[in-house]
Amino acid sequence: MTVPAAMMRKVLLTACAWLVALVVLAPYVQMLLTALKPHEELFASPPGYLPESWQFGNFLEVWRVAPIWEYLRNTVLIAGLSTVLAVAVALPAAYYTARRRFRGRRMFLLLVLVTQMFAPTALVIGIHREMLALGLIDTYAALILVNAAFNLAFSTWILHAYFSSIPVELEEAAWLDGCGTLQALLRVTLPLAVPGVVTAVIFTFITAWNEFVVALTLTSTPETQPLTVGITAFIGQYEVQWQYLFAASLIAIVPVVALFAYIERFLVSGLTAGSVK
């Protein structure tokens, strides 16, 4: 390839990358700009792209007009505990299916996958009845259980894949070095499965954080409602307070982005390089 052609290729690729980034980011920019507009400007015709008077106060005001703190606390608790529960259940299941050959192993893994095919929306009535019977309506427990359950399949599969990729000889070496089964798992296998665990954590946490339909169905008071449900309070019967809705949405996004930025460094690949061969 000639030098100008290589240059051309590079420029084109960069341009494409920026284009994709722009498409992805555009809604967020729109959200931010709308969140900074005063109420009267929202329905101005013709609509302006930039606010004429910048209302940075909207971001402070929103905490006052709705119990954002409570919603945020609920979301953090529900998403966090769902993640802990899902990973705690998926880890042993994934380890066992990766290491042992037993009758019905493939069937089990397929069944786990099949559960992933049901959308929460399709099951929401059943779930509501179930929680009603259990007396768990309008509790954290209900949302934690449901969120953990819906993310179990993905967590099990990703961890299963990770455990399968770790050579069994490493565990055997640990056994011969004096470890019991659990000790070998904790000291050798689990440290090597960290990228898989991180993937499962991120996926589960984000899904639970963004979950809306089930939370809307199962909760009815600000004491238990997560942010996704809470911010719908800005959608009134006659008008939508877009500036607050978007301000609260942006507030909801920040913790997830921060978490992802922090945890992403553990997603290094090739952790097992050099162990075998």
């Binding site: 070496a173 070095d177 090597l192 050099g274 162990s275 075998v276």
Partner: protein
């Protein structure tokens, strides 16, 4: 230090027709270097893993010293193993890899450091103690795997084809290093390989397995000079022994027109046993190239020159009564190899032939 006893040890995988290891009886002396060798799937690795506790024993027993370890988990057997793929802990540096067992055993930090350093010195690894396995070459990784075993000072070393991932040249030098190290440490060692050169050069004794059964166990020289059956005769030695079915005659055994000398005793035993159909074996080095009237005329099809040796692949037509071709490999003087297509005359030296029963494959003494 300890002896190892396999006492009718059997491993039978579910859904297979025959046991992977069939009532293995082996006694390995204290400090001995025993090599398990055989073709793929012969049960040599399974036997080793039964000793290490990584494989269940379905029948029989395994003992280390006076202890019956048949039902003990690996961690209670005091065995160190070197795996074919080394199985180094990728998240630990070399020092931690080597000291891991001592750490689990609760030894003091000072003791661990000292013993790791001693082992590292022995294996020329001192400069790499802080490195992770991925930053090491193949040979260094192999040495770390060895180091992890010797730091332990275990009762028994188990080695499962530890050299097969090294390149040819390194394999030869590491082979002698491991053998020397074992002599020096005096630790009982069971070594699995499919490479007969490793088996012949490293082992005090060699056990040759096929289909889960020991075919012969003895010193390398015994296996080479007095193979117990046709399988051993064909497996040990490279190029392989010439093995041909033939008929006993007054002068020896006749294979397609070539008469191979067979001892009187062997002839007598074979004749009393049955029909006189035997399998005759002679190694390439048991053949002399002779003058026109003294041996069988054969055509050279290929000459392999190895520098110190040369092997001549020849073929001759059988007598008209039983048309067909007989292939014979002969070791020849590397300084004057015949050309391809040339006719040479072969004669098998007396006293260097092996006779086996065609029916059972067993050696007929003589």
């Amino acid at each position: 230090m300890a002896t190892v006893h396999y006492d009718g040890a059997t491993r039978w995988y579910q859904g297979t027709e025959r046991p992977a290891v069939d009532s293995l009886d082996l006694r390995i002396d204290d400090g001995e270097f025993l090599v398990l060798i055989g073709p793929s799937g012969c049960g040599k690795s399974t036997s080793l893993r039964m000793l290490a506790g990584l494989e269940d024993v379905d029948a029989g027993r395994v003992r280390i010293g006076e202890t019956d370890v048949t039902a003990l988990p690996p961690k209670q057997r005091d065995i160190a193993m070197v795996f074919q793929n080394y199985a180094l802990y990728p998240h630990m540096n070399v020092a931690d890899n080597m000291g891991f067992a001592l750490k689990i055993a609760g030894r003091s930090k000072d003791e661990i450091r000292q013993r790791v350093r001693d082992a590292a010195q022995l294996l020329d690894l001192e400069d790499y103690l802080d490195r992770k396995p991925k930053a090491l070459s193949g040979g260094q990784r192999q040495r770390v795997a060895m180091g992890r075993a010797i730091v332990r000072q275990p009762q028994v070393f188990c080695m499962d084809e530890p050299l097969s991932n090294l390149d040819a040249k390194l394999r030869v030098s590491t082979r002698t290093q491991i053998a020397a190290l074992q002599r020096r440490l005096g630790t009982t060692t069971v070594y699995v390989t499919h490479d007969q050169v490793e088996a012949m050069t490293m082992g005090d004794r060699v056990a040759l397995l096929d289909e889960g059964v020991v075919q012969q166990c003895g010193t390398p020289r015994e296996l080479y000079e007095r193979p117990a059956n046709v399988f051993v005769a064909g497996f040990i030695g490279s190029p392989a022994m010439n093995l041909r079915q033939g008929r006993l005659t007054e002068h020896g055994a006749d294979i397609g027109g070539m008469t191979v000398p067979v001892s009187r005793q062997a002839r007598a035993t074979a004749a009393s046993d049955g029909d006189g159909a035997v399998t005759v074996g002679f190694r390439p080095e048991a053949i002399d190239l002779v003058g026109e009237d003294e041996g069988v005329a054969a055509t050279v099809t290929l000459v392999e020159e190895l520098g110190s040796d040369a092997y001549c692949y020849t073929t001759f037509r059988e007598r008209e009564s039983a048309p067909g071709e007989v292939d014979v490999v002969a070791r020849i003087d590397p300084r004057k190899p015949p050309a391809k297509g040339e006719t040479v005359h072969l004669r098998v030296r007396p006293d260097e032939t092996h006779v086996f029963s065609t029916a059972t494959g067993a050696r007929i003494p003589g």
